[in-house]
Subunit: 236 residues, 2 copies
């Protein structure tokens, strides 16, 4: 508990900010944790909510992560063939203890080839598309497969981060943090899962998401960028 | 649903960022919503997690809010006698449909005199202190008393914002948003409430919080700043 826990999160334009800020709140309060937010440069990055978050480091300068974390959002799908981002993810993943995402962040991990043959999850509306990039989609809130830990849509990030905290630092640490964050949820409706929603509405949303995103996902799959292997830190 | 819903949130140094970013994610996706983050100037503001969020406006220039929202955090207690902040809160509250907070943000509302005689909540560890500033502390996750809506600690902000959305825009809007945010929580432990935690641990945390904060809360109460009345927008 006294050695630093280095978390490096990807911050990018159009990320769903709660995908990032929910887990970041959990990680920041772990004993010895250091949380970095990495992007191309350290200018403020506009989130899906309009306002901006300031990166703490760059893709090039980020320290080697113990936990590599990728949030989701519409912006994900603009980066599926971005060589700088994919190389950053592969380089960090090669040395990380945990390779993780929330929401559609798993599409970026998958595009980098980091979920090939792994069970993984994502936002329910995008889940059927995840197989296009080599992952095995699983409709669960948090999925742990070896050192890959993926969370479902947006608010699942809090559950995801507490599960990861418990795995890495033990149940007592995670339990105490849950108390300090007063995480005793009382959703006002039984409406947060497609399993309990109106089937016609679920189908309509899935169809709209597929139409908006399938082209870019298939283009990334066809480009074959996820099969490129790069050297980890320190290798030449 | 087509008229704009103007949310103005106070952003300040040392705010617990999830107090702000959880509700902000909900508010930003409401039909016609415009979310502003206000502080003294528009330079990046350091949150409790180390990294910074950029204000969209200033205390002086913020538009009149339909929803005035104050997050919490350690930084709250540095502002209890800050005349600029208290005047901003009173001016906005005078015209707002909803006057709201999450976590220890309720101490700022109370210091401004905006919770005198109102039932309100805050983070469980600080709840016994809230009465010092004229509010009636209530140990519930979300408390609605007339147009004051307060949430408990940190993660309660998501429940709070969905409850507020339902009140303002109807259950169907809130229910659909809950589905899109996949808010179907699965906390890993039954540990998020003082009611289920170890009583000795709860007492120790309450005692430490009281020691750290009671002096500043009592000083603000003695200063009597919460009894000052200022003119609302447009009055001279």
């Amino acid at each position: 508990m006294t050695s630093p826990l280095r978390v490096v999160a990807l911050l990018f334009p159009g990320c769903t900010q709660l995908d990032l800020t929910g887990p970041a709140q959990v990680f920041a309060r772990l004993p010895g944790a250091q949380v970095d937010l990495a992007w191309r440069d350290t200018e403020p990055v506009a989130t899906d909510c309009g306002w901006s978050i300031v990166p703490t480091t760059t893709l090039a300068d980020a320290p080697p992560a113990d936990v590599l974390f990728v949030p989701g959002g519409d912006g994900t799908f603009d980066l599926l063939e971005d060589e700088d981002v994919l190389a950053f993810l592969r380089r960090q993943a090669a040395g990380a203890r945990w390779v993780t995402s929330v929401c559609t962040g798993s599409f970026l991990l998958a595009a980098a080839g980091l979920l090939d043959g792994y069970r993984a999850t994502t936002h329910w509306a995008s889940l059927p598309l995840l197989a296009e990039l080599g992952a095995e989609p699983v409709a669960e809130r948090v999925v742990v497969d070896r050192n890959r830990v993926t969370g479902a849509g947006v608010t699942s990030g809090i559950d995801f981060a507490l599960v990861l905290a418990a795995r890495d630092l033990g149940d007592d640490v995670a339990r105490r943090l849950q108390l300090m964050l007063e995480y005793d949820p009382r959703p006002p409706f039984d409406a947060g899962s497609p399993a309990t929603a109106d089937p016609a509405e679920v189908a309509a949303i899935r169809s709209a998401v597929r139409e908006a995103r399938l082209g870019r996902v298939q283009a990334a799959a066809a480009a074959g960028t996820r099969r490129v292997v790069v050297a980890p830190f320190g290798a030449t």
